[in-house]
C-alpha cells in the first residue's frame, strides 16, 4: 500500500511517469474495450440478437434493386447510382431494428472497377431517406473480391448496398454475409484513427492532469500563505 501511495505521489512530481501512466492507461483501456467488444458480441450472438445470415447473390426477393438488372447472380447497373436495399426484416432474427455489426460482400466485378462500394445505414427509426452521413466504406481484405464493412454498434432500421458508381458495370454477386463473426485477434487490430488517438489522447490527458496538479499546488501554497 505504501508503495502504491509512493508511486501515486511520484507521478505528480515526475512528468515522464505521468505521461507513461497515461499511455499505459490508454493502452489498457483500448485492450479492455476490444475485450468488451468481443465479449458483448459473443453474448449477443448467444442470445440470438446477432445472427449470421448468408444471402446468395442469386436470390431475388431480399434486395430491392434500383437501376440494376439481375439475371441470377449477374447484375448490370443502368445508371451511375445503382442501389440494393436489403429487406432487414427478412434476415434479422429480431426483425427491425436489426443488429448488424458486419457486412461481408463476395463479389467479382467483370468489366470495370466499381469505383466506390459503400454501405448506407439508418441508425434511427424516423429516417425516411438514407443519409450520406451514415455510410461506411469497405476495408478490402484481399484482391479476391471480398469486401468487409464494419458498422457501428447499435440497432439499424435500414441497410443499403451501393455497388458502384458507373453505368454499364457488370458484376457477379456470390453472396452477402450479415454478421460474419470476427476472429478474436481481429478485435485488436489497430485502425488509423486509433493510432492518431494513441498519439494524442494520452498526451492531452497528461497535460490536463499536469495543469490540475499545478493548480492544486498553487492553491495549496496560497492557502498556506493565508494561514501564515
Amino acid at each position: 500500500m505504501r508503495r502504491v501511495k509512493a508511486f501515486w505521489n511520484s507521478i505528480w512530481k515526475n512528468d515522464r511517469r505521468l505521461v507513461a501512466l497515461c499511455y499505459a492507461v490508454f493502452l489498457a483501456g483500448s485492450i479492455l474495450a476490444s475485450l468488451y467488444g468481443f465479449a458483448e458480441d459473443a453474448y449477443q450472438r448467444a442470445q440470438g440478437n446477432v445472427a449470421q445470415t448468408e444471402i446468395s447473390g442469386a436470390q431475388e426477393d431480399l434486395f430491392a434493386l434500383t437501376d440494376l438488372e439481375q439475371e441470377g447472380d449477374l447484375y448490370t447497373s443502368t445508371s451511375v447510382d445503382p442501389r440494393m436495399e436489403l429487406d432487414l426484416a427478412a434476415v434479422s432474427p429480431t426483425g427491425v431494428p436489426a443488429y448488424v455489426r458486419r457486412v461481408t460482400v463476395r463479389v467479382t466485378f467483370l468489366n470495370m472497377d466499381p469505383g466506390e462500394l459503400s454501405v448506407f445505414y439508418k441508425p434511427r427509426a424516423d429516417m425516411e431517406e438514407y443519409d450520406a452521413t451514415y455510410r461506411v466504406w469497405a476495408h478490402k481484405e484481399a484482391e479476391d473480391g471480398v469486401y468487409t464493412f464494419t458498422l457501428p454498434r447499435g440497432a439499424l432500421y435500414g441497410l443499403r448496398l451501393d455497388p458502384g458508381i458507373y453505368s454499364g458495370m457488370q458484376f457477379r454477386l456470390e453472396s452477402v454475409i450479415i454478421n460474419e463473426p470476427r476472429g478474436f485477434f481481429e478485435w485488436f487490430l489497430p485502425t488509423r484513427p486509433w493510432l492518431l488517438c494513441l498519439a494524442v489522447v494520452p498526451l492531452l490527458t497528461a497535460s490536463v492532469l499536469k495543469y490540475l496538479a499545478l493548480a492544486a499546488a498553487a492553491l495549496g501554497a496560497r492557502r498556506a500563505d493565508g494561514k501564515t
Binding site: 512528468d15 452521413t133 461506411v136 488509423r192 484513427p193 492531452l204 490536463v208 495543469y211 498553487a218
Partner: protein
C-alpha cells in the same frame, strides 16, 4: 518505396540543416525548420528565376552534406536535449507520420486548380528541371509567383520522376514547421503547454476552412491549393519574430526570409507580407528595447536596417518576379486586367478614393455592402455552435466576425497572462493585426469591384477562400502570443486553463464537423476512383502513341476540367493540343475565339478559324493546321455524335477512346485505335 526513400533522405537533409542552425547559430530548435523551409523557397525561387534550378538543388543538398560534416566534427557541441524540444519533436513526428501515410496511400491530384496550376506546375518544373515560365507547354497559367512550387521542387529534387504525394507532403511539412515555430519558446519543462497548443495549431487549417459537416472527403492536408500555405506563411514571419523573447540577428534573418517567402507564395501574399513586415517593424522600433545588431551596426541604425530588410526583401521579390515575367514571358505584372482593366496601383488609388466617397460608383457601394454583410453572416469557419436556424446558431455562426472575436479573445488572454513587456507587445500587435485585417478585407473588396466579372463580383465568388488565409495566419500568431505569455505565467492560475479550454473547444468542433473516413487520416480508396480510372485509360492510350504524336482532346466537361486533367496525365509523354480549352460547347453553331488558338498560328490562320462556324470541315482543317495526329475522346454528347460522327470510321459506336487522324482535306477521317473495331 523509392519515392519514400527519396522523401526521407530530403527530410533528413532538412533536419541536418536544422540541427546545424541550432548548434552553430543558436537558433531555437523549433524555429529552425521554418527558417530552413522559408530559406529554401527563397533560394530556389531566386536561382530558378535565372535558369539555375538544378545548381540550386545541388547547392542545397551540398549545404546539407556540409552541415552533416560540420556536425560530425563538432558533435560534442550538439545540445541534443535542447534540440529535441517539444516543438522539434512535434515537427519531426508529425512530418514523418505524413510521409509514411502518403507513401502508403499515395494520394493524387483531384481538384480543379491542381490541374490548372498547383499540380501541373510542379510536374512541369520537375520534368523540365527549370521554372515553368521557361517552357510552360500548354499550361494556361504561368505567371503565378513560384515560391510554393519551388518548395515542391525541393522535395522532388531527388528522384527521376514526379510524384504527386510529395507535393502534399511538402505542404504539410511547411505547415508543421509554422506550428512548431509557434510553440518553439516552450522548453521541455513546458511540455504541458506545448501539447494542447500543438493540437490547436494542427487543427487550424480545418478550423478556418471547414464550416459544415460534409459528405465528401475533406482534402485539408492533401490539397495543393496555396490559400492555406499563404495564410500560414503570413503568420510565419510574425511567429518567427514574436515566439522568442530575445531578438537576435539570425532570428531577424529568419523573419526576413519568412516575409519574402510569404510574398512568393501567391499574388495576394504580397499584401499579407507587407502587413506582417509592418507589424514586426513597429515592434522592433518602438517595443523592443534591446539592441538587434545588423552586422556591426547597433542601436537605432541596426534596427532601421532590419526594418529596411523586412520591407525591402519582399519588394525585391515582387519587382524581381515582375522583371522575370517581363523578360521571359513578355507580360506586365502590374497590369491586372479584369473587368475594369486597371493597373495594380490604379486599382488601389481608385479604391481608396471611392472608399472616401470620391467618385463612388453604385457597384462599389453594392459590393462593399455585400462584403460587410458577408463578414457577419457568411459561415466559413468551424467556430459555430448549434443549428444555423437556432438563436445560438445565428449568433455563433462561424462567420468572420465570430472568428475575429475568438482571435482577439486569445490575444486578450495573452495580454492578461503576460508580464509588462508582453502586455505592451500583445496590445500593439492586436491593434496592428486588426487594422491589417481591415486593410486586407477592404483590399479584397477592391478586387471584387475592379477585377472580377459582374457575376462573380456580386456573388462574392470564392469569398471564403480569399478571406480565410488571413484568419489562419492571425490565429497562429494569437496562439503564439498566448504560449509566450503562458510560459512565464504563474502556474495554476485560472488563465492558464484558457489554452486547455481552447483546445477542448477545437477538438469538440472538429469532432462535430469531421469524420475520420472523410479526412486525410482514413479516406476511402474510392475517393480517387474516377481519377484512377482516367489515369488507367490515359496510360493505355499512351501505348498507341509516340513522342511525335499530338493529341486533340474532346472533353465536353464543365469548364473543360477534363482537358486539364488529361493534359496533366499525358504530360510529358505525349503532346496535347489546347483543343479550344475543351468545355461543354462543341458544335457547328459556335465560332471559336482567337485566344483559344495555338500561339504558332499565323494571323491568317487565326482569322480563318475565328471567322466561321466550327463545322466538321473546319475542324479537319484545324487538325491539319495544328499538327494533331490523334483524337482522344473523353466526354461527348449525342449532338456531337450527330454533328461530327461521320468523321469517325466507327461512327463513335465502338467504345474507342483514341482515334488516329488519317487522310487530309475532304478525305480526313478518324480511325479507332483501341475500341472493338480497332485494327490490331
Amino acid at each position: 518505396m523509392i519515392a519514400f526513400v527519396e522523401m526521407t533522405v530530403t527530410f533528413a537533409a532538412l533536419t541536418a540543416l536544422c540541427l546545424f542552425l541550432n548548434t552553430k547559430m543558436r537558433l531555437a530548435a523549433g524555429l529552425t525548420p521554418l527558417f530552413v523551409l522559408c530559406g529554401t523557397m527563397v533560394w530556389y525561387s531566386t536561382l530558378g528565376s535565372v535558369h539555375m534550378l538544378v545548381p540550386a538543388g545541388i547547392v542545397w543538398f551540398g549545404a546539407a552534406a556540409a552541415a552533416c560534416v560540420w556536425l560530425w566534427r563538432k558533435h560534442k557541441d550538439i545540445r541534443w536535449r535542447e534540440f529535441f524540444s517539444p516543438a522539434m519533436v512535434y515537427f519531426l513526428l508529425a512530418s514523418l507520420a505524413v510521409i509514411v501515410l502518403f507513401a502508403v496511400r499515395r494520394p493524387i491530384f483531384n481538384e480543379w486548380d491542381e490541374f490548372s496550376f498547383w499540380g501541373i506546375a510542379p510536374k512541369v518544373v520537375k520534368t523540365e528541371n527549370q521554372l515553368y515560365t521557361y517552357n510552360p507547354g500548354e499550361m494556361r497559367v504561368s505567371t503565378f509567383v513560384p515560391g510554393i512550387i519551388m518548395l515542391d521542387y525541393a522535395f522532388q529534387f531527388l528522384g527521376s520522376v514526379f510524384v504527386p504525394w510529395k507535393v502534399y507532403a511538402a505542404y504539410d511539412i511547411l505547415f508543421f514547421a509554422v506550428f512548431a515555430a509557434a510553440i518553439s519558446m516552450l522548453g521541455r519543462r513546458h511540455w504541458h503547454i506545448a501539447v494542447p497548443a500543438a493540437a490547436v495549431l494542427t487543427l487550424v487549417p480545418y478550423m478556418v476552412s471547414v464550416y459544415q459537416r460534409g459528405i465528401y472527403v475533406q482534402t485539408t492536408y492533401m490539397n495543393a491549393y496555396s490559400d492555406i500555405p499563404m495564410g500560414l506563411l503570413f503568420g510565419a514571419g510574425l511567429v518567427l519574430y514574436f515566439a522568442p523573447r530575445k531578438k537576435t540577428p539570425i532570428l531577424m534573418t529568419g523573419a526576413v526570409l519568412a516575409v519574402t517567402a510569404s510574398c512568393l507564395s501567391k499574388d495576394m501574399g504580397f499584401a499579407l507580407c507587407l502587413i506582417a513586415a509592418a507589424i514586426i517593424c513597429f515592434d522592433l522600433l518602438f517595443i523592443q528595447k534591446e539592441d538587434v545588431p545588423f552586422f556591426r551596426l547597433k542601436g537605432l541604425g541596426g534596427k532601421l536596417c532590419w526594418c529596411a530588410s523586412l520591407v525591402g526583401a519582399p519588394l525585391a521579390a515582387f519587382f524581381g518576379w515582375a522583371a522575370h515575367m517581363s523578360v521571359v514571358l513578355g507580360s506586365n505584372r502590374f497590369d491586372i486586367g479584369g473587368s475594369a482593366d486597371m493597373g495594380m496601383v490604379q486599382m488601389v488609388t481608385t479604391g481608396i478614393a471611392e472608399l472616401l466617397g470620391i467618385g463612388r460608383t453604385q457597384k462599389f457601394t453594392d459590393i462593399m455592402e455585400l462584403m460587410k454583410s458577408a463578414f457577419f453572416n457568411t459561415r466559413l469557419t468551424m467556430f459555430s455552435v448549434g443549428a444555423p436556424d437556432s438563436t445560438l446558431g445565428r449568433i455563433f455562426n462561424g462567420s468572420g466576425f465570430i472568428t475575429v472575436l475568438l482571435i482577439l479573445s486569445i490575444l486578450l488572454a495573452a495580454f492578461l497572462l503576460g508580464d509588462k513587456r508582453m502586455r505592451v507587445r500583445t496590445a500593439w500587435t492586436a491593434l496592428w493585426s486588426s487594422l491589417g485585417f481591415a486593410a486586407f478585407y477592404i483590399f479584397t473588396g477592391f478586387t471584387y469591384v475592379y477585377v472580377f466579372g459582374e457575376e462573380l463580383a456580386y456573388g462574392l465568388g470564392d469569398y471564403n477562400r480569399y478571406i480565410y488565409p488571413y484568419y489562419a495566419g492571425w490565429l497562429v500568431l494569437a496562439v503564439t502570443m498566448l504560449c509566450a505569455s503562458l510560459k512565464n505565467a504563474k502556474p495554476g492560475s485560472l488563465g492558464t486553463l484558457f489554452l486547455l479550454a481552447l483546445c477542448g473547444g477545437c477538438i469538440w468542433r472538429a469532432d462535430a464537423y469531421l469524420q475520420p473516413q472523410l479526412t486525410v487520416l482514413d479516406y476511402p480508396d474510392s475517393h480517387y476512383a474516377g481519377r484512377r480510372l482516367q489515369v488507367e485509360q490515359v496510360e493505355a492510350a499512351k501505348h498507341y502513341l509516340t513522342r511525335d504524336d499530338k493529341v486533340f482532346i474532346v472533353s465536353m466537361t464543365q469548364q473543360g476540367v477534363g482537358w486539364f486533367q488529361l493534359y496533366y496525365e499525358f504530360y510529358p509523354d505525349v503532346a496535347v493540343d489546347y483543343s479550344f480549352g475543351a468545355g461543354e460547347e462543341f458544335s457547328p453553331d459556335i465560332v471559336r475565339r482567337a485566344d483559344a488558338m495555338p500561339g504558332f498560328f499565323t494571323e491568317e490562320q487565326v482569322d480563318y478559324f475565328t471567322s466561321q462556324p466550327f463545322t466538321p470541315a473546319v475542324w479537319c482543317d484545324y487538325l491539319e493546321a495544328s499538327g494533331c495526329t490523334a483524337i482522344y475522346m473523353d466526354e461527348w454528347d449525342a449532338a456531337f455524335a450527330e454533328n461530327y460522327g461521320a468523321l469517325f470510321a466507327d461512327g463513335l459506336k465502338s467504345g474507342a477512346t483514341l482515334y488516329r487522324v488519317e487522310g487530309a482535306g475532304a478525305d480526313m477521317h478518324f480511325v479507332p485505335l483501341n475500341g472493338e473495331e480497332a485494327v490490331s
